[in-house]
């Protein structure tokens, strides 16, 4: 099995997949922390599903599906940002946009003349091994922009996320930060869809952050843990898929879920250790 794995690692498509996996995991792990803290799982789903519509639209007119995905999710982010910044409104706005976006997706699929299904099924369940060099470049560029962007606004974003009232009073442009984060979330979604597909998007955008919260109360460490878990799930998933006949996304979701369960089971233990350490 190990021999088989080493043999596989020689292929370009495998190397591409692993490079893409690292990029996607870092972005997803970072973003995931904020998705969990800001209660944005519904928005993640909408960004992915309307991203699917964008992708279908681009396939229809003969352009890159990856670019289409990015366009779809970015436009959705802008809509959500413009229409529903207040938390009370947000869920309904997201739902309204998602419903219409999916409707458009159905139209695009119906209009597509050739084989039905295949190209779209790939989007739904992820197909990292089909990533081309060109797409890889695009993924890398988007990942770089997102990571730099998150680095620049990491501190005020964290402040605005955990303590919005005081952040606003201290001069953090809370509205602007929210919209910028939505755009980065859209980019992260477009990236993660490449690995796990639209249907399993939450496994990379919720599970790592939710798991990290169970491991530590230190915000910086939690972010590092979140990225680590995303990397473990993604790379572990890709490698496991290489030696079996089961799709990558199954393994990614499984590894992520096992991490989460382990953290849930282990957090009382960590807590008691922490309590003992901080006791006088």
């Amino acid at each position: 099995m190990i021999d088989q794995l080493i043999h596989m690692l020689g292929y370009e498509f495998v190397q591409n997949a692993l490079v893409a996996g690292v990029l996607v995991a870092v972005v997803a792990g970072l973003v995931s922390r904020f998705v969990v803290a800001r209660n944005m799982s519904f928005a993640v789903h909408a960004l992915a599903e309307v991203g699917f519509t964008g992708s279908a639209g681009f396939i229809l007119i003969g352009l890159s599906p990856v670019l289409g995905l990015l366009t779809g999710s970015m436009l959705t982010a802008l809509f959500i940002g413009a229409l529903g910044l207040r938390i009370r409104e947000r869920d309904s706005v997201v739902g309204v946009i998602m419903a219409f976006g999916l409707g458009l997706g159905v139209l695009f699929i119906t209009l597509y003349p050739r084989y039905s299904g295949e190209a779209f099924a790939i989007l739904l369940t992820g197909a990292i091994t089909t990533v081309s060099r060109g797409d890889l470049m695009l993924l890398a560029a988007v990942a770089a922009v997102t990571i730099v962007g998150l680095g620049v606004m990491y501190r005020p974003l964290t402040f605005a996320t955990v303590d919005p009232l005081v952040a606003e009073a201290r001069g953090v442009p809370v509205r602007l930060v929210s919209i910028l984060f939505l755009l980065m979330l859209a980019a992260a979604v477009a990236e993660a869809v490449q690995i796990v597909g639209v249907l399993m998007i939450l496994t990379l955008l919720i599970t790592p952050g939710a798991t990290a919260e169970r491991l530590t109360a230190q915000p910086g460490l939690a972010t590092v843990a979140s990225v680590g878990i995303a990397l473990l799930a993604t790379l572990g998933g890709i490698l496991l898929a290489l030696v079996t006949a089961v799709p990558v996304s199954f393994y990614v979701t499984t590894v992520a879920f096992v991490c989460y369960l382990a953290a849930r089971a282990g957090s009382p233990l960590l807590e008691s250790l922490g309590a003992r350490r901080s006791a006088p």
């Binding site: 009232l165 005081v166 201290r170 109360a217 230190q218």
Partner: protein, 293 residues
């Protein structure tokens, strides 16, 4: 004070003896949201070192007053100067303590991190605190006696402990002016007293100015040297004894209201017409949400 009263609004008390740059100066200020006037023609001067209690029923614009001071709500008319200049967002000379809202139990955040936001949370970048920043966080934690639980997950702390950390967060930037928005809400009596003492003592020691929004004046009676009562767009300002009288309050509410002093506490009792208001009753225990309406 030196301000002149307007129809239905009054300033009570004598003019200050010494000319000094005021910490806050409202001059015929009006605040309105689209069509609704929150309060109008407010003229009020707060001198450095004064502790101003802002009183009034829910929805009377107490929080809006703080938002105006923070530069988050522009005036519709009139003028406002804070520390000698028009209010601006994120003024480092202003500290802010919000209402106790409680943190999610599992949020990865410690007291130390919350206070750290007071140092550089608004600054772009990844935000690793400098050595000096960490020293200031330690000093602020020390000042509110929060060192013992500074490393604990903040969601597991009591309301009183969380509010102490919030005060440390507000004071870590060494402000001249501290704005507190109902910092005592949903705290029990003991914590109410502790939190008020922390804020009052800071004001006395550093000669800091405090604007303290509260629906119950009693916890701050020992510290507040001025009060402003806002209701239905009207207001009255002066000392506690000047404003919280049967005559002034009845005038403000335009309805019979009686102010009683019982065992060193002030109780306002009344039945106002129409407004469905709740004047601050003595508030011994945290009431369930909506129980006061």
């Amino acid at each position: 004070m030196s301000e002149r009263g307007h129809a239905g609004r009054r300033n009570l008390g004598a003019a200050p003896a010494i000319e000094e740059e005021p910490a806050i100066c409202f001059d015929r200020a009006t605040l309105a949201y689209s069509d609704r006037v929150v309060w109008s023609e407010l003229s009020l001067t707060v001198r450095p070192g004064e502790f101003l209690a802002v009183l009034g029923p829910n929805g009377s614009g107490k929080t809006s007053l703080l938002r105006a001071l923070l530069g988050l709500a522009p005036l519709a008319a009139g003028q406002l100067d804070v520390l000698g200049r028009p209010p601006r967002r994120g003024d480092p000379a202003i500290g802010y303590v919000p209402q106790h809202a409680g943190f999610d139990r599992d949020i990865p955040l410690r007291g130390r991190d919350l206070v750290g936001f007071g140092v550089d949370g608004h600054r772009w970048g990844f935000g690793r605190l400098s050595r000096d920043g960490r020293r200031r966080v330690d000093a602020a934690l020390e000042a509110v006696a929060a060192r013992p639980y500074a490393e604990a997950p903040i969601g597991r702390l009591s309301g009183g402990e969380q509010q102490r950390l919030r005060i440390a967060q507000a004071l870590v930037g060494e402000p001249q002016l501290l704005l507190c928005d109902e910092p005592l809400a949903s705290l029990d009596m003991r914590y109410q007293q502790e939190i008020t003492e922390l804020i009052g003592d800071w004001a006395r020691q550093k000669r800091g100015t405090v604007v303290f929004v509260t629906h119950d004046v009693n916890p701050v009676l020992g510290y507040a040297n001025r009060v402003v009562f806002v209701v239905n767009g009207r207001w009255a300002a002066g000392s506690t004894d000047e404003v919280l009288t049967t005559e002034t309050m009845s005038g403000l509410y335009d309805a019979p209201v009686e102010v009683l002093r019982v065992r060193g506490r002030i109780v306002v009792v009344g039945e106002a017409s129409g407004a469905g208001f709740d004047i601050d009753e003595p508030h011994h225990f945290p009431a369930p949400l909506g129980a006061h309406q």
